[in-house]
Symmetry: D3
Subunit: 287 residues, 6 copies
């Protein structure tokens, strides 16, 4: 008798009960204002992960030794951000309740709000580490408060001042930067100052949100709003490894891969490798 | 002194006051469930119309002789269908109020609901001629009633039974076809029976909505949900000419062009030519 | 607790024991001489089937009422046709042994030889209905006898004369056509003469092999060797429906979709719809 | 000792002295007004001809039996139409002087003027058979008389009235159609009336110019100005076979393939097959 | 009453009279020898500028505070470089005459000659700062003196020795480099030595011409002749900011963006951002 | 009388007898496990070399002064690695026997085994310098010992321990890295330690194999398995120049360019320039 056809991120095929990390995808891009397509991101990461090795020569670790469960993509209603966010929050809450770490792949950056809400409920003292080209701090955008361009502002409404730490920011309107000075910690252009922040945070619970457009468009063309002048792949690889291995990460996400703008596949390959390095570095994924 | 840089559909540069037909674009695709991208459709039609001649050898007429105003695209809020539809309805209402014919280019098919609502307010006895691959008659889709897959059902809630005439339909779920039998007139697969319907309608006001995916994907690959087995370009060209010249058209739209899926540009070229033939056939566009 | 992430062709999620038809994919293209890429065909068909409706307005049937199991793709060794064919044959033999119909999706056309071998073992009187642009009757090609260009010749070595019926053939070298006159039945250019052949075959077991490049490249650009001058989608749709509903089909395959050459996705959409229509027409897929 | 690396159209590798037909390419597109790229057409036709069989099942003839020499592409100066046309004319004149038939592949349609000038010098009573979507009869275009949009007008300046026979024309400005009525014979939209014209021409020398955009864009998307509503591949295949086998062809060309707009390669495949069928039908290519 | 549909570079919508900088586009590429397509560059820069923010976090300035007029693209005759250059020169002369700074977007690099001629007439002591991968110093190219490969040589014929300063040059034939040693100042491979040159120039009027292929192809793939080994985006961003804010710039251009070779849009995004940074740095654009 | 149409890498048109270096292509990719397409690599390098200058400003040398013969591509049987490798070995042996240096362009990396076998027969003390993202040291892959992923392991079976020197390696499975520690010299991630190795090798004969995926995917997207985190173009350019000018190179290859994944052409441009720099640096190519 033949088996059913399973689809997971490379080697993430533990039983749910034994897994310490649970992947889930949020294929949503309805508020994307420039070039839609990130809805295809989570499936592409899962599918193209088979072009990777499970072993990382950077960390000398192997996904074959990890206990990770990939729960697939949530089926989300396009055009209805409120309901989509509830569904994402619910999935993250289930995972947290079962004592596992939720690892979300987007979708547009707005999906972070769903996962972060569940994390915030469980860890009210959580800080956010935010890697991005864009500040995402607007009060509203094109008449909507639930937009990718407002997502960190919505998170701030939960955390209050001083608990959002942004890195790599190189785009935003004047008001975002002005407002940000009083309420969040913005490190422009690079990730160089990350190590000091991670050290300072110590054992505080951390939610890590990686908008992959923090990468330079040469490395990561496949995204909704490419912003020239970004960080290198090795910079981001080192940064996520640092955070996942040294900070007390209690939830995380990787978002804004848009496969339709990635004709050569290099953006998806970069996304897969960042996800692999994060999974290998998170203590929760090891036995 | 230099002039400002104007952008219109080919030759549609009349003064607003003198125009009999007014073009407007609705770059919206937030409820698209399969492959987004129709938000770029209206701008592509405007831009690529310059690959066309203004003269039609089919009708022996020339846009140079027409009085048409292109009012450009409305700036719509992504992720908020309710508000987007209000804005479209408002623009159509203004045009109707000024005694001109509103000609909408999408965008996804949902945008029809905005323009049709304005037309219905003015012409409560209006019928709909609907060319499409899909029935679009669902009560709801993915939990939403404001979805491209429900747009004709929403229109029916205004018109009631027997006033929607569909042609070319070759896809839908079982329930749509079942429901449709009792409430609308569905001509499957082809446009062959159109002439009889147009004759029967006589002077009744007609809203014409053209989902370009009624065309075969070989002719029109650039759309969200390509459905093999469609009609030919000449079939559609003849059909829209017939309706625009013989029926009493009081509003119309052309939608579902998705330029990201049109690498060779043939879909945009087909859309432009259908728009040209409609404009040339509408009595309102002539002096 | 969350469920595992299953991937099947649209609605083909029966339990194996209850299924009458079993889908399996053979992602192999190592002997492709012109443009490789068909290895991605079976996965693309599975993935993009979600752009389809499960209901067919042509047959008035619904996949929701069918009992089909999708067993996924076989992991095949690239560069080793002999071993790949054994693995395909083994999978088909298991399915036949369990009293179910094997339905193979390619991959290049060579994969047919694996599935047909298993079918031939069980039904030694089987005939082949072959839809293709190319005769595929060479004794060898580029020094190899296991090549896509030789696959029907290899099948003939099993069946002997008069049991291969080709339709739509519009390309081959002079020797293939000459040899073919004495050994197989070749209907050039169209599928028009199919009905008579199906009637003549009566209850004889039939293996149906559909090389999708029988379609015109306008309808089906995404293939290794596009041959202008092919049949229309409706011609092929009607032909496969005829064979699957009226002949005694005991095995079948659909092959030669090459997604890298299908930038707009229309070829994959056509392939999915042909597979759907075949599944709906096969009596084995119904309860 | 190794041989030099030759590149020719499929099997067109006769010695020059023995050849009856000589191919040459004119990779020029500097006057293209809409989308450039036809400069890559002649090389693409040569290169991709290896995806074809040398045998035609339509004509039951084989290029292996033909005597054709492919002299490669002329290196033309971009931005200088006058000089480019002289160079093309010179090459054609050499071929004619050696008693062979010149067969030009473009490039944009303007290149016809170079080849036709040489033919006209040798055959002052020559007629032109012209297959095209566009009338190409303007006196000037964007301020230039040497433009692709004027090429048949320039030819007419040599031949005078009544010796240009156009087929398939479906685009032009009003003045071109008006002027054309008095000076050339224009058959709109289709090739249906060709047979009668060929019969009427009898033994008169004929120059055949095929602008491949006469094909429908579904069949031939890869061109500078796609015009929906064109002829089918089989229509064009039959038409060129008819002309080349029954008329007294003394020179010919095939032009306007633009590979950058042909992502799936079907346009190049169509162009190659049209060239093959023409070569097989021309009596000069046989021994 | 509805407004006309204006199209400008992001926020460049001042009245002409009040503007200090005037943008204009030259969509010309007829002398391009390798891969045409830069004719679409100026329109793409205008259109895609809406993916940018008007605020620069590098300069802490905002286009909302600037006075810039975008006069759109000139309609140029393809295939006629002499006439195209006159039209460009004329536009630049008008702008200069009105006391404003002309800012040209190409188009191929040859268009620089038109704008520079007008600038030279007004500022006979002008120097040229030239960022490029290619020396562009040939006396002629493919038989023509008006070619992109000769454009700085033509400029030198006006300025004479020592007034052209090239940076980033990494390609040219042997003769160009030899000739260049005696007549221009060539800084190979990088922009590192720019600061010293700008300091040395002091208040001398400067024309800045930026061939965007000076960027590495990873950052800027969308160009006619990609040359591996170029400068980074940040290097170029800093360089143009330096020149525009510290040198006495009296005219400038940005050229060689070829959208058909930019499938992911990152080249256009880079071009837009370079234009934004230049506009923000130029003192003429502020009140 | 017209000449035959020759096709060579830029300026590599010496007579065979006079040439010191002989280029040949191996268009083979049948064992590629992820994304096929490298079969088109050698032809693309030849064709696109015409976008390059023959002069290198890095080395101040010109291909016009070199004596190189391009013998074109071998016609290889797809699906039969054993036979393909024999044919490659035979071509390389002929070139070596004639006292010339064989320079192979792939194709997938497996082709190296053919050329290296011939070199090893003549120079049994040869060492290998290997630039690659992948270790390629597996005993078998997907059941086959003749796979691109095993090619250096097969070479090691000839050379034994200590004679393979790998640089830039950033991907492999755990066992490859473990095995490699005892048998080969692996320099991870960069080429920085190359100079010391070249110095140490002195006059020992060296075979240089360049898998172009050692480059970062931003620079070289067009390859089968893009691995983020690679070396820059200038790093590789300097490395190959160093090896070709200072080591005793007796054979070399450049492989793994896959044009279908290179939509903007930058990968092919990079490959061409690496080949040019190698040819210019090899003493055998000069008189």
């Amino acid at each position: 008798m033949l088996n059913k056809n399973m689809e997971t991120f490379l080697c993430c095929d533990s039983d749910y009960e034994e897994a310490g990390v649970v992947l889930f995808g949020a294929p949503f891009d309805s508020t994307t204002s420039y070039r839609p397509g990130t809805r295809f991101g989570s499936a592409a990461i899962r599918r193209e992960s088979y072009g990777l090795e499970s072993f990382s020569p950077y960390q000398e670790r192997d996904l074959l030794d990890c206990r990770i469960f990939d729960s697939g993509d949530i089926e989300l209603p396009f055009g209805n951000p409120t309901r989509a966010l509830s569904m994402i929050e619910e999935r993250a809450a289930t995972i947290l309740q079962d004592g596992k770490l939720p690892f979300l792949t987007g979708g547009e950056h707005l999906v972070t709000l769903g996962a972060f809400s569940a994390v915030y409920d469980r860890y009210p003292d959580v800080h956010i580490l935010h890697f991005d080209a864009h500040a995402d701090l607007r009060q509203e955008y094109l008449g909507s408060e639930l937009s990718h361009a407002c997502v960190l502002r919505r998170c701030w409404e939960k955390t209050g001042d001083g608990r959002i730490h942004q890195f790599g920011i190189r785009s935003g309107d004047r008001d975002e930067f002005l407002w940000g000075k009083d309420h969040v910690e913005t490190h422009r252009f690079t990730l160089h100052t990350l190590e000091e922040t991670v050290a300072r945070l110590g054992d505080v619970p951390v939610y890590l949100t990686v908008d992959l457009d923090v990468l330079d468009p040469s490395v990561f063309p496949g995204t909704g709003t490419p912003e020239p002048g970004g960080v290198s792949f090795d910079d981001l690889r080192r940064a996520v490894t640092l955070v996942c291995s040294r900070a007390h990460v209690v939830g995380c996400d990787v978002n804004e891969l848009s496969p339709p703008y990635d004709p050569s596949g290099i953006s998806t390959a970069a996304a897969c490798k960042i996800v692999r390095e994060m999974l290998l570095a998170l203590p929760q994924s090891r036995g």
